[in-house]
């Protein structure tokens, strides 16, 4: 079988590179979405959780009598009750040597270690009755000292959260490359600064939701769950609840956002599954907004001290950084809470060509909610530190920030390139992206306008942030550390009797358009209309086992998997067509759902007719010919651990220096994610990511008191970015496909988030520079801006 005459990317009816509408948009807009909470069950029960009101306390006693007698209550369960059904989990992996975390149980047993930790479960006929019953639970608390401040977590005077570890250090890592001390000693300028990044959280529109249904007759657990990783969760439920994978089915219906928050193991969810096994009935858990704030994983929380060495002509020769990050009382399971800090210190300096690098990472326990992976893990911190330091470096040698970047970014002749932290870049396009960006911005005019307006007391700033993004991770990411998290994906593609194609694929959809992109790849490779492909995702009993959706892997890995499956099915279809038509298969092609002559395009037969023969009249075929109308293929990235992408962003802002308010005027992104499958979906991913990063830059912060209490856990007090404050976001692309896959697509899900906060931070500091002020903490609240300007004392 020879290759088709056109590649799937340039054949006339290819969907690759076209902004086709999402097939699922009509259903969702019509209100016909099926989210987990919409699924109906007979004999359904509802669980609610009593959560710790203290950051750290001993449970001296529990009085459950009144709660057990409350109307509608089916069971009241404690940590000890559920520990008998559910093995504890430990959030460590072997490739993070030295990472510590204690066993974690579904519910606290004798001690709580964060405000919001689930303690008692009430299962009742309705959620309201379950909440009523919880009000009758009496807990005898003995408050213990809380470790809130990560800066003092390692002090000898600070109490130790897990005494068996001897201190509050969860993990540390030192990286050293080149001759760092010599580089600083030889520098013309050494710039030093300290940056602070608040905690924030995902605030997905649909909260964490699940219905666990254990059927005692078959000893099978079915979990409908709003998750991005059904296969991982199938494995987790099986191993921790004493079942085999084969006894567990996880189904992800429509999912209303996840952002990395819906792939961790949560005690309340494990408790829900265990309760279903205890009761032999379906149990529903829906995290309400208040409990989401104190139980969904939090993100970031870093203090980074950074130094950079610069020569007189603006060459950056060395970075040295020290990152301290607080992860709450446990490392999250099963991916750990070490990845965030690890990626911060490995990504810092990523776009630049310095060869001397030193980094120290300390990850500490605290009595706060657990911190773990969230969209763009580590990237925004690394990017903000790098780009803020690069701006300071530019100022120190009197160079324009764009010019300094030009002098220091990796150049096109340097690839493949191994960074000082060991990352390998196949081929990046920093200079092309920078050139496009300054063109879109009309950079020189903006600078002139900035100068003019300053004379009228209007302070505008321009901030640039270059970035690299880790996408399409291979097994080195989790698998090598012992995590049962797949780096491969699978696709089953079937031609059905209708002549239409069903695509069962292991990557999942949370609103970003994965299913659309998969359909585009399948339709293009097969040569059939897009609406002849129906994509099915998210059911471990139906779809092949795979990694699903995280780390910007869906399009790149899932897309390549679908491409390979489609190629195999196409070969089988053409082999059958050749048999029926008594022609050589390689003289035939599939175009617009028809078998045609490859040469000339004359129609030979419809796919529906071919399918009819394959399924209902195989007696008309030669006896030694078996049509194979279903194929399965798997794909794992090989050749490089990650497919790095790159890009650059810019923010234009105006700072009102009397009030500290920041107005976002415009934002630009030039991204290179390789081959773009659907430009509109890619642009939406970038814009959504930019807005999420702007949330971190200006609005979102989980504010904790010294007592470890989160003080703003409502949507009135925790500010998410809203459309009214967002600027227009201009998006453009440079395309450098990876050669490690035929599709050439890299990931794009996190690029927007990776650099937008950095761009805004730099823009605000650019605005403040003539006033001698600098803000070093995000979010950039009015208070912080006013404090930097010295306006809070009067």
């Amino acid at each position: 079988m020879t290759a088709p005459p056109f590649s799937p990317f340039d054949r006339p009816n290819s969907y690759i590179g076209r902004s086709v509408p999402r097939p699922n948009a009509r259903r969702l807009l019509a209100g016909r979405g099926q989210f987990t909470d919409d699924v109906q069950f007979a004999r359904l029960t509802h669980v609610a959780f009593l959560r710790s009101p203290h950051a750290h306390a001993r449970i001296r006693g529990l009085d459950l009598n009144a709660a057990k007698a409350a109307p509608g209550v089916i069971v009241i369960a404690t940590g000890a009750d559920l520990a008998r059904l559910c093995r504890p989990w430990v959030g460590t992996l072997t490739h993070f040597a030295g990472l510590k975390s204690p066993p974690q149980y579904p519910l606290a047993i004798d001690r709580v270690v964060w405000r919001g930790e689930p303690v008692v479960a009430a299962v009742a006929a309705t959620r309201a009755l379950a909440e009523d019953a919880l009000e009758l639970v009496v807990v005898d608390w003995e408050e213990l000292p809380a470790v809130a401040d990560m800066e003092t977590a390692l002090d000898p005077a600070t109490s130790v959260i897990h005494p068996e570890f001897g201190d509050n250090k969860a993990f540390s890592l030192h990286l050293e490359s080149g001759a760092v001390d010599q580089a600083f000693a030889a520098a013309h300028q050494v710039i030093e600064a300290e940056w602070h990044f608040g905690r924030h959280t995902a605030v997905s529109l649909e909260p964490r939701t699940m219905v666990a249904q254990f059927d005692p007759s078959e000893q099978r657990l079915t979990v409908f769950q709003s998750t991005q990783t059904p296969y991982q969760m199938q494995d987790v439920y099986a191993r921790h609840l004493g079942l085999s994978d084969a006894q567990v089915r996880v189904v992800a219906k429509d999912v209303g956002g996840s952002f990395g928050m819906k792939l961790h193991v949560y005690g309340d969810e494990m408790a829900t599954a265990a309760l279903s096994m205890m009761l032999g009935r379906p149990v529903k858990f829906v995290a309400d907004r208040l409990e989401s704030f104190v139980s969904d994983i939090h993100a970031r929380d870093h203090r980074v001290k950074a130094r950079v060495a610069v020569t007189a002509d603006g060459e950056i020769t060395a970075f040295a950084v020290d990152d301290l990050t607080g992860i709450g009382p446990f490392s999250a399971y099963p991916r750990t809470s070490a990845v965030e800090g690890n990626q911060v210190i490995r990504l810092i300096g990523g776009p630049y060509r310095h060869r001397h690098y030193r980094a120290d990472l300390k990850v500490v326990f605290q009595n706060k909610n657990i911190m773990s992976q969230y969209r763009a893990v580590g990237h925004p911190i690394a990017c903000a530190v790098t780009e803020a330091m690069v701006d300071l470096a530019a100022a120190s040698v009197g160079l324009d920030p764009v010019e300094l970047r030009r002098r220091n970014m990796l150049t096109d002749d340097m690839y493949p390139y191994t960074s000082p932290t060991g990352f390998v870049f196949e081929r990046l396009s920093h200079h092309q992206c920078l050139d496009r960006l300054v063109g879109h911005m009309d950079y020189e005019s903006l600078r002139a306008e900035q100068e003019r307006l300053r004379r009228h007391g209007v302070f505008r700033g321009i901030g640039i942030a270059a970035y690299i993004e880790i996408t399409n991770p291979g097994p080195a990411f989790y698998g090598v550390g012992g995590a049962r998290i797949s780096a491969q994906d699978g696709c089953i593609l079937k031609l059905e009797p209708s002549g239409q194609v069903r695509c069962l694929v292991s990557v999942t959809e949370q609103g970003q358009g994965t299913e659309t992109a998969m359909a585009q790849v399948a339709a293009s490779v097969l040569g059939i209309p897009l609406d002849a492909v129906r994509v099915v995702t998210g059911d471990t009993e139906v779809t092949p086992h795979g990694g699903a959706t995280w780390a910007s892997r869906g399009a790149g890995i899932g897309g390549e998997t679908v491409l390979r499956a489609a190629r195999a099915l196409r070969d089988n279809i053409l082999a059958l067509a050749g048999t029926i038509l008594q022609a050589h298969a390689d003289t035939l092609d599939i175009r617009d759902g028809l078998i045609v002559d490859a040469d000339g395009g004359r129609e030979r037969m419809a796919l529906a007719e071919l399918a009819r023969i394959a399924f209902f009249r195989p007696d008309t075929l030669p006896p030694d010919f078996q049509p194979e109308m279903t194929v399965a293929r798997h794909h794992v990235p090989r050749g490089q651990p990650f497919a790095f992408t790159n890009g650059i962003q810019a923010a234009h802002v105006e700072v009102e220096i009397e009030t500290g308010f920041i107005k976002l005027l415009k934002h630009w992104v030039v991204d290179d994610c390789g081959r773009v499958i659907n430009p509109q979906l890619v642009d939406e991913q970038i814009r959504g990511g930019v807005v999420q990063g702007i949330g971190a830059a200006l609005f979102e912060e989980c504010i904790y008191g010294a007592d470890g209490q989160m003080q703003n856990g409502t949507l009135a007090d925790y500010l998410v970015p809203m459309a009214g404050e967002m600027p227009d976001i201009v998006v453009d692309h440079v395309s450098t496909p990876t050669v490690y896959s035929e599709l050439g697509a890299k990931g794009v899900g996190e690029a927007g988030t990776a650099a937008s906060a950095a761009a805004v931070l730099n823009a605000v500091n650019d605005a403040l520079r003539p006033l001698g002020a600098r803000v070093t903490t995000i979010p950039l609240t009015p208070d912080r801006v006013l404090a930097a300007l010295g306006k809070l004392d009067a």
Binding site: E135, D288, Q711, M722, G724, E725, L792
Partner: protein
Amino acid sequence: MKPPSFDYVRPRSLSEALGILAARGDGARLLAGGQSLMPALNMRLLSPELVVDIGGLDDLRGIVERDGLVRIGALTRHVDLQRSAIVVRHVPLLAVAIDHVAHPAIRNRGTIGGSIAFADPAAELPACAVALQARMIVAGMAGTRIVPADEFFLGIYETALGPDEILVALEFDAVGPDQRSAFAELARRRGDYALVGLAAHARVDADRLDEVRLVYFSIGPTPVRARTAEALLTGRPLTRDTVTAAQAALAADLDPPADTQASSAARRQMARVLLARVVMELLDPVPIGAGG
């Protein structure tokens, strides 16, 4: 986030509603637009035995102007204020302020009476009522009484309303040709409760202000009048120095709280900025509907 169980009644007349309140008193809460009560119930911050839904009392709706008086029924929704020509013409401060109250979905249900009676210290309408010296028309079993806005707001979520009383309307003097209002607030996001807000009203004669009322909100337990600053701005030609002096005087007038949104010092700074802005606007008003 499910409310504890409660009884529910929807009276058909004001007298029936007052009778229910008289009988159930402290255990009852009135439900108007529900924009504050429903979240408070769901968060179990309130657990009344009885919710009295006054949504059926149509007499409590509507905006009328007669003989220089504007009467706004307590159940008049924010969106109705926004669309009212009477409000634009005769109570322009409300017309400006209402655009800053939350979002369309909330303005479609929230009522002026609900906002006034709930007395959130960060809300816009109570401050406007104080600035304009509105009169609160309060009904009880014994009849109707009138409470001046200056005496109505007693503390955080605390008003002069008795447990068996219902706020039925607000009454405003239609503004005269020489009177002007101004409004400004600073909110992180459009529609949020303000970090600091200021409603102002005065008699204007060229570059002089008289009968100045500066009412800050989100800066104390109730709407707060800046009396020292008012006095400094009253009855003399306004210059840069006068405004600066009035700004400095806010130190004595205001004692802002600190919370997760802003420090006390930041609120003081913002209060000074807002003072200058509203004075500018009193002297040189922007037409309603203009600008952003």
